[in-house]
Each structure stands twice: as structure tokens, then as C-alpha cells.
């Protein structure tokens, strides 16, 4: 039973488990989706910021190409201090200005200002930049164009400056009053501020700014900006390695889960403002740049896990509750089932007991019925005996009384001689009568009759021998005896009585046959109401039952004048049958035949 309950519980629980897992999955997806979208917005903002700032730098750089520089300034012919100082003063208020340099067409710095403090810039020793890439690219510019360098660590005199300073250089041509190019203006912008904004976290996200080659320009995992331009520490390598993601191959703006983290990728497209038709940057200088930045932001597994924790907790809670409820239901069901079974078992037991008592009662009833029937038969036998005494036994006594009376009245020799033979007749009659009554009484008084299994056919064959002469007699040749013992052929009875009964019945059939027909007697067994029944049928003279029905089984009753007999046969048959708890009835038609039906009540 417990197994069934377990099965049912599992059957109930599994769909709920699947549902809850699906629900949890959906929650997780939706959470990740939500986080991804937020992340995307966040890095889009960062991307705008970067572009915005870059555009700003370009404008600032571009400014210098519109200034009319004094003619032919050079290392040996420096710029007029008053010309430049006004600009410097303005620049000092913009912390983004890290360096401002004017480089002549030979690569020699003509003027060099460096930021020395937050609000102060100072002139420094000019250097030769003829070998620097940005100088070469600057020479290739056309008027109005601004070259934006990649973000690099600042080098002074060919050596990376320590502490590292990430810079973006804007390069533009500068002209004198006659629109003759006098050199290049190079502005170094300190990217630290911009980066520090971009590195800001809204969650526990990790920020990476990548260059064209996917190398990390800056990240909020390390101070070491542009690590690859210097010497990469193991930490830098590991950070770089983390970004070797399959989903980043196509460099498309997207977010995705990989290695347990949520990654968001956004290309920083400098041309975006044109794409969206914004006029904020209208009339802007044309940009020449190799820069192709991208922002990657990562939400680390720990944070995702912490965010998923609620869902997981809910999931567990739901499952625990579900299991609990199912368990309770199962327990309740089991309990009910058990009670039901107990109840049914109790009912069954009681039913059984009832049936047993009923059977007992039935048996007792049967016994009572049986006893009643036996008593009834016994009573009837007593009545019959009384009848025999009243009619048969009293008759000779009364006759004797009369004779004695006559003799006493006329005690002469003549009367005596006349009456004496009558007394002899009476005496012999009494003798016969007492013999017959004794036979009868012995049957009545037979209390413990010996019963045994008697084979009817064998018994009948034995009885036939009693009549062998009559059966072989030529006149009797046309008398046949038939047996139909298909239903049963043996029964428990007293073999002497059975023999006597069969003898009497066969004898009667032989005696009372019709001479004009081929006579027969049929012994046939049958079942009636579960009792064995023996039919004895003949096609003899038959008896008028209307006349003689009452007397058929009585003592000394005879019904056929010309057939010998003293009227004892059927009387004995009936008595013996009753002694064996059997009954006999008769059906007869004069000129057709007689059928005796014997019912054995104890079979």
C-alpha cells in the first residue's frame, strides 16, 4: 500500500517539480534578460560618454586649426608669449588638457605645455617627435581634419612615463595668417577622468574597454591601464584571458551568458551621432582615426548567483511545501485507506460470524424439522398401530366373547360341538394376527437400524432369484424387468428392509399384471429436491385410488378378489420405509398401471 501511495505521490509531485523547474528557469532567464538590458543601457551610456568626451577633445583640438599663428615660428623663433598665454590660461581650467604642443613641420616641438597641477600648466623642454606615429599621421592630414590617436600610455623622450598616464592625442594642422601650414597642434588628453567614470559600477559588474584588437585598454579590475603596452603582470594576463569568449567573435552588440557570467558587449562607434541624425556635432571637424573601441561589461557568477538566490529559495520553498502537502495528502489517504480496510475486515469478520451463526441456526432448524418429521411419522405409526389393534385385534376377541356367551346360555352338547370349531378358527386367526403384528411392532421398534451402502442393481438381481420359477414359467415369459439407474445406483439403507421392499413391490407387479398385455416393471432412479427418489412403475391392473386410496397401505387390505394374498405386503413396505426415514406414495389408474414413488429423505 505504501508503495502505491509513494507512486501516487511521485506521480503528483513530478509534474509540479517539472513545472517549478521550468518556472525557475523562466525566472532566471527573465532576470538575466533584465540584467542584460540594464547592463546594455549602462554600457551604452558609457559608450556615449566616451564618444561625447572624444568629440569634445576633437573640438578642442580642432580649435587650434582655426587660430592664425604668427608666421614661421620655430624652435629658434618661438611664439610670442602673450599670444599663447591667453590660451594657456583658458586651458588651465580644463583638467582634461594634459599637454599642449606645437610641432613644426620637422618634428621639433616648438612649444610644450604640461599640466603640473590640477589648475596649472607649465612650459616644458620641447622634444623631437619626428619618429612618433601621431606626428607622421598629422603631416598626412588635410586642412580641417583632426587625427585622433589610439589611447596610449604617455611617453616622454621615448620612455613610458611612470606613473602610467593613458592619453589620447588629438592632432591637427595649424596655420599662419596666410593660411600656410606652420606645423601641428598636438593635444594630450588625460583619459583617467573619463575612464574613472566608465569604470563606475552599477552592480558588481566588471568593465573592460577594448581596442581594435580586443586588447584591454582599461578595466576596473586593475589599476594597470593599457597593460599590454607595458609589461603584463600575471593578473593582467588572466584578465585578458577572461575575455577570450566564443560569443565575442562577431563583435556584435549583445549580451550573453558564458562561463557563468553575464557578458554585455557594445561597440563604441564614433560615427553614431551622424547615424542618428543628431546635429549636436554639426560642423565638426572630420576625424581621422584608427580607433575602434568596444566596451565589455561582465556580471560575475557570484553576483548572478546572489540574484538567483531568491529564485532558488522560492523554488526550494515551493518544492518543500509541495512535498509537504503531497506527503500530508498521502498520509491522510493512507490513513483513510487503512481505516477503510480495517472497517471492511471487521465487516467481513462479522459477516462471517453471522454466516456461521446462520449456518448453525439453519442446521439446528433442519435438525428440528427432521425431528418434527420423525415425530410426525412416529405419531402416524402409532395411529396405524392403534388402528390395527382396534380393528384387527379386537375382532377375534369380540367373536370369542359372543361364543362364550352363547355357550354359557345353552351349555348343551350340540351347541358346543357346533361352536367349538369356530373357536379353533378364532384361535388360528389370532395366531396369524399376533405373528403379523409382531413383525409390524418389530419394525416400529427398530431404533438403531443398521444402515449400509446398498447397490440397488445387485439387490434387485438378488430379489429376482425369489421369483425365478415364476419368471421362467412359460406363461410369465412376457414379463420384463427394466432398470434405469443413470441418476444414482446405490444408497445408504438397511439391506434386509430394502430386500423385503423390493421383493414385495416386484411380487405385486407380478401378481397384478394384466394378462392381455406384455407386462413390465421399471425401476428408475431420480433426484428431487436433492433427495434420492426411486420410481417403481408397472403396466398392471392398477387400483381405483378413489375407492381404495386410504387403505392401500393398511393391514389386511386386499383389492383384487381373484388374486391370492393376505394384505400384508404394502403395509410392511410402508412400515419398513418409514423406519428408514423414507416415504412412499402411489399413482395408479385402473387398466393402465401403477407407479410407486419412494423418496429417501436421509439421502
Amino acid at each position: 500500500m505504501w508503495r502505491n501511495i509513494l507512486k501516487t505521490a511521485i506521480a503528483l509531485y513530478i509534474p509540479l517539480l517539472i513545472f517549478s523547474l521550468y518556472w525557475g528557469y523562466e525566472q532566471k532567464q527573465s532576470l538575466i534578460q533584465g540584467m542584460g538590458i540594464i547592463q546594455q543601457r549602462n554600457i551604452l551610456n558609457k559608450s556615449y560618454h566616451l564618444i561625447d568626451q572624444s568629440i569634445n577633445l576633437i573640438s578642442i583640438t580642432s580649435f587650434w586649426s582655426d587660430i592664425n599663428f604668427p608666421e614661421a615660428f620655430s624652435k629658434t623663433n618661438p611664439l610670442d608669449a602673450t599670444f599663447i598665454n591667453n590660451y594657456i590660461r583658458i586651458m588651465q581650467g580644463y583638467p582634461i588638457y594634459d599637454q599642449l604642443r606645437f610641432i613644426d613641420l620637422h618634428g621639433e616641438e616648438v612649444l610644450r605645455f604640461e599640466r603640473i597641477a590640477r589648475d596649472s600648466m607649465a612650459p616644458k623642454q620641447p622634444q623631437n617627435k619626428i619618429d612618433r606615429d601621431y606626428f607622421k599621421r598629422g603631416l598626412d592630414l588635410e586642412r580641417g581634419q583632426v587625427y585622433v590617436s589610439p589611447i596610449e600610455l604617455n611617453k616622454e623622450n621615448g620612455v613610458i612615463e611612470v606613473p602610467h598616464r593613458p592619453v589620447l592625442r588629438g592632432v591637427t594642422q595649424i596655420f599662419d595668417g596666410n593660411d600656410v601650414q606652420v606645423g601641428l597642434a598636438v593635444v594630450n588628453f588625460n583619459m583617467d577622468n573619463i575612464f574613472s567614470f566608465m569604470k563606475s559600477r552599477i552592480t558588481e559588474d566588471n568593465f573592460f574597454l577594448l581596442d581594435t584588437d580586443g586588447r584591454i585598454i582599461t578595466s576596473n579590475l586593475d589599476f594597470n591601464t593599457l597593460a599590454h603596452q607595458n609589461k603584463m603582470t600575471p593578473k593582467d594576463s588572466s584578465i585578458q584571458k577572461r575575455l577570450e569568449l566564443k560569443n565575442l567573435i562577431f563583435k556584435k552588440d549583445t549580451f550573453f551568458m558564458e562561463n557563468g557570467s553575464l557578458w554585455t558587449y557594445q561597440n563604441v562607434r564614433t560615427g553614431y551621432e551622424r547615424d542618428v541624425g543628431m546635429n549636436r556635432y554639426a560642423g565638426m571637424a572630420e576625424i581621422v582615426s584608427d580607433n575602434d573601441w568596444a566596451i565589455v561589461q561582465e556580471i560575475p557568477p557570484t553576483y548572478i548567483r546572489s540574484r538567483l538566490d531568491t529564485i532558488r529559495k522560492n523554488l526550494i520553498l515551493f518544492n518543500v511545501l509541495t512535498l509537504g502537502v503531497i506527503g500530508l495528502i498521502g498520509f491522510g489517504y493512507a490513513h483513510t485507506q487503512k481505516e477503510k480496510r480495517n472497517f471492511v475486515a471487521q465487516l467481513k469478520r462479522k459477516n462471517k460470524e453471522l454466516l456461521a451463526s446462520k449456518a448453525k441456526l439453519h442446521e439446528s432448524n433442519k435438525l428440528v424439522e427432521r425431528s418434527n418429521e420423525q415425530l410426525r411419522v412416529r405419531n402416524k405409526q402409532l395411529e396405524d398401530f392403534n388402528y390395527v389393534v382396534a380393528h384387527n385385534l379386537k375382532a377375534p376377541v369380540s367373536s370369542m366373547n359372543i361364543i362364550v356367551d352363547l355357550l354359557s346360555k345353552s351349555p348343551d352338547q350340540k351347541t358346543f360341538e357346533e361352536l367349538f370349531p369356530k373357536l379353533e378358527t378364532i384361535s388360528s386367526n389370532i395366531q396369524t394376527l399376533t405373528d403379523d403384528v409382531q413383525t409390524y411392532v418389530s419394525i416400529l421398534n427398530q431404533r438403531e437400524l443398521e444402515l449400509e451402502n446398498v447397490n440397488l442393481l445387485l439387490k434387485l438381481k438378488d430379489v429376482e432369484k425369489d421369483f425365478v420359477e415364476r419368471l421362467l414359467d412359460e406363461e410369465q415369459q412376457n414379463f420384463t424387468i427394466e432398470y434405469h439407474f443413470d441418476e444414482w445406483h446405490a444408497l445408504k439403507c438397511n439391506r434386509f428392509y430394502m430386500r423385503s421392499i423390493l421383493h414385495n413391490l416386484l411380487s405385486n407387479a407380478l401378481k397384478f399384471r394384466r394378462p392381455d398385455v406384455k407386462s413390465h416393471i421399471i425401476f428408475e432412479t431420480a433426484w428431487e429436491d436433492g433427495k434420492k427418489v426411486l420410481y417403481v412403475k408397472d403396466n398392471g391392473l392398477g387400483i381405483d385410488l378413489e375407492r381404495h386410496g386410504d387403505n392401500l397401505f393398511k393391514l389386511y387390505k386386499r383389492f383384487h378378489r381373484d388374486v391370492s394374498g393376505k394384505g400384508m405386503g404394502l403395509f410392511t413396505v410402508k412400515s419398513q420405509l418409514e423406519a428408514m426415514d423414507a416415504s412412499i406414495t402411489v399413482d395408479s389408474e385402473v387398466g393402465v398401471g401403477t407407479t410407486f414413488k419412494i423418496k429417501f429423505n436421509n439421502s
Binding site: 388402528y387 382396534a390 369380540s398 367373536s399 356367551d405 352363547l406 369356530k422 386386499r558 383389492f559 383384487h560
Partner: protein, 137 residues
């Protein structure tokens, strides 16, 4: 007034002999006839009615007899009553049985005049004859 006539129906031959002897002693005028069973007796009655012979005024009928007993005789006699020319047939049941059942049963037949328990002595016979024939016997 016709002569007294008695019919004895009984299978007890001693009884028949003795009764006849007693009746003979009582009067010479009484005609006595007898049969040993009811069947013979009823056949006699039938013959009497067919041939218009006089019927016995008294029938002493035994109950217990072979072939046709007293009751059987009464049943058959009942059927013959409408055909009888003389109504005065007095049937007395004469039996050794004093079984009250038999007495009750005898009362059911209107043809039965009396019930006599054996032995039947002379005085009883005289009483019966007086009842039927007054003093004329």
C-alpha cells in the same frame, strides 16, 4: 308391514355364523343374508334395485373389510339412494373399533342409523330390530 330382513356385511366368518345363529334363535321370521366384503354387498344392492327386489330393512356393516370396506360401501350406497324404491334401509355400523374417529366419520353419513361396537349380543340385536320394526318381528 314387510318381514324383517337383515343383511350382514363382514369379513369375519365366525361373527357371521354366530350372529346368524343368534338371529335364528330369536325369530324364525327374520330373513338373514350375508356378504364377506363391501363389494359383494353393494353389487347385491345394485341387483336388488335393478330387479326391483325388496331391500333389507337393516344392514349391519363392518368397517374393516377387504376389497371394499365399510366406508367404501357407504360411498357407493350414497350414489344408489336416488334409485332406491324403498327408503327405509337402516344401516348400522358394526365394528370392533371404538375409535372416536370412526364414530365421527360415521355421523357424516346420513344413511347411517347407528353405531354398534362388537361383540353384538342378542339384546343389542333385539334393540335394533325393535327400533326398525317396532314390535313386529
Amino acid at each position: 308391514m314387510r318381514n324383517p330382513s337383515i343383511l350382514l356385511v363382514d369379513d369375519d366368518e365366525v361373527y357371521i355364523y354366530v350372529t346368524k345363529k343368534i338371529l335364528a334363535n330369536m325369530s324364525d321370521d327374520i330373513s338373514v343374508k350375508s356378504f364377506n366384503d363391501g363389494e359383494q354387498a353393494i353389487e347385491f344392492i345394485q341387483t336388488c334395485t335393478q330387479e326391483n327386489n325388496p331391500l333389507p330393512g337393516v344392514i349391519l356393516l363392518d368397517i374393516n373389510m377387504p376389497y371394499l370396506d365399510g366406508w367404501g360401501f357407504l360411498s357407493e350406497f350414497k350414489k344408489l339412494v336416488p334409485k332406491l324404491s324403498e327408503k327405509e334401509v337402516n344401516i348400522y355400523m358394526v365394528t370392533s373399533s371404538n375409535d372416536p374417529h370412526d364414530m365421527e366419520r360415521a355421523k357424516e353419513f346420513e344413511q347411517v342409523t347407528g353405531y354398534v361396537v362388537k361383540p353384538v349380543f342378542e339384546d343389542k340385536l333385539a334393540e335394533i330390530l325393535t327400533d326398525v320394526y317396532d314390535e313386529n318381528w
